[in-house]
Subunit: 271 residues, 2 copies
């Protein structure tokens, strides 16, 4: 992969990277579409990074569909798929870690303390192997993208991060590999998270900028459903993930994580 | 600097980087000489990295000689000097760190817990800015080089690390910016560290491979001088810095750190 990337760059080709954990869906298709407009070659990576998962998390169950993913990539017009195995990425004795300590501190960083370190490390590896000019990330992973942007800036990687809109099912649920864990009853209740965020957005649209008022509305709405357990809901700057004191329409993100029974979901809306 | 590097690479030029903290001396000249043989363009960086220094260390006093260093680079035939200021490298709010946890754990990692994290971070930044094909490092910094090699391998940087022999004064003292701290009396005693390591090497040359026996000889020799306070002396694999159980001639490094009054020195010999 690295030789291919170096060869492409020496031919002056622009490379776009779509980093994924497989289980490809319409959200990834959107990333590929944007990537094709930005670059001469689109490389999609598929790697379920064990170091993003904590000891009690769902690494073993995380959905994997090699053949389906490859079919998807062919249809979507991906130029190359980079699909390393775990031993190639983390050979025995692996010992180097990359950590962003500010944007990664709050929200998911509190409940998943290992997650961003694992993600930053694998992104640095992917950047060095694929040598992309631009990297496509989805707004659903707003905090991850903010952390990666900061890491890129701090470590001087010559890489642009392009953010792409979250793709949702008709009922509003953000597309996401973990949706595969749901039974029909759970899937029916999953939209509550997005709907609660929209309730918050409605308040902002009606002129309310008080953070506590808006977050309390979201919390209240989620608490009405017996499957949903809120982990956090925050009003943060959409780019830096710093908590805001007052909601600034166009710049504030309402971001939440919640359990829907045993499935952990994140979502956010820009207000 | 990054634009220059990208332009050089697109012309197919090989870039060698000589990373330094300034106070350039004949050891650096040797690095530049080797670099000139390996690459089309030699870039020398000068940056006293504050994050390599602990709160009670010598950051403020560390010798700086901008004009002397630039004269040195002209004479040595360096093609470009990269000399960023601290605010360019670490703007306010800087928050990303790179850490190697295995080779950095022992020896200097014990007494300078901040050092290798600061060094790894700045090397990643330099690699991304200067985009070198090869990086020149001296054997005096054997543990640093081992840590950086491991980081390069783990993070998949397409960079070769070339090791260059330590350059010594006539009395055996390894050239080093901190030698400038010595008064005449201290400078007269500084060779004790290297001489003690050579006593260890003599034992190995005479057929002794017992680690304890060799290290005790070195410790004993240093303890004879009233200015010298030994911090550690270890017999380690020359490439991995893992402590060895038995000395293997040609593969074992005897490495030490010691105070000569208030000046901390490191040195090593291959046995």
């Amino acid at each position: 992969m690295q030789s291919l990337a170096v060869a492409l760059r020496s031919q002056g080709k622009l490379i776009a990277l779509v980093p994924t954990r497989g289980s490809l869906h319409a959200g990834h298709r959107r990333l590929v579409e944007v990537a094709k407009k930005e670059a001469d070659r689109v490389i999609l990576s598929i790697f379920v990074n064990p170091h993003e998962f904590g000891p009690n998390e769902d690494l073993a169950q995380f959905p994997r569909d090699r053949e389906g993913d490859l079919d998807f990539c062919r249809e979507a017009g991906v130029d190359s798929v980079f699909m390393p195995c775990e031993k190639e990425m983390y050979p025995p004795g692996y010992s180097t870690w990359v950590e962003e300590t500010r944007r990664a501190a709050g929200m998911c960083g509190l409940s998943r303390p290992h997650y961003f370190r694992g993600a930053c490390t694998v992104y640095v590896k992917l950047f060095n192997i694929v040598r992309p000019d631009s990297v496509l990330m989805g707004w659903r992973d707003a905090q991850l993208a903010a952390v990666v942007r900061k890491m890129v800036e701090d470590l001087n990687f010559p890489v642009d991060i392009t953010m792409v809109e979250t793709v949702r099912a008709e009922d509003g649920v953000a597309l996401n590999a973990r949706n595969a864990y749901f039974d029909d009853f759970q899937r029916r209740d999953a939209p509550v998270i997005h709907n609660a965020l929209l309730k918050g957005k409605e308040l902002v649209d009606s002129g309310i900028t008080n953070v506590d008022r808006v977050l309390a509305e979201i919390t209240h709405h989620m608490s009405q459903n017996r499957r949903i357990r809120l982990i956090y809901v925050s009003a943060v700057d959409r780019m830096t993930m710093e908590p805001v004191r007052q909601i600034e329409p166009g710049r504030t993100l309402l971001a939440a994580a919640a359990w829907c029974d045993q499935v952990r979901l994140i979502d956010n809306v820009l207000v």
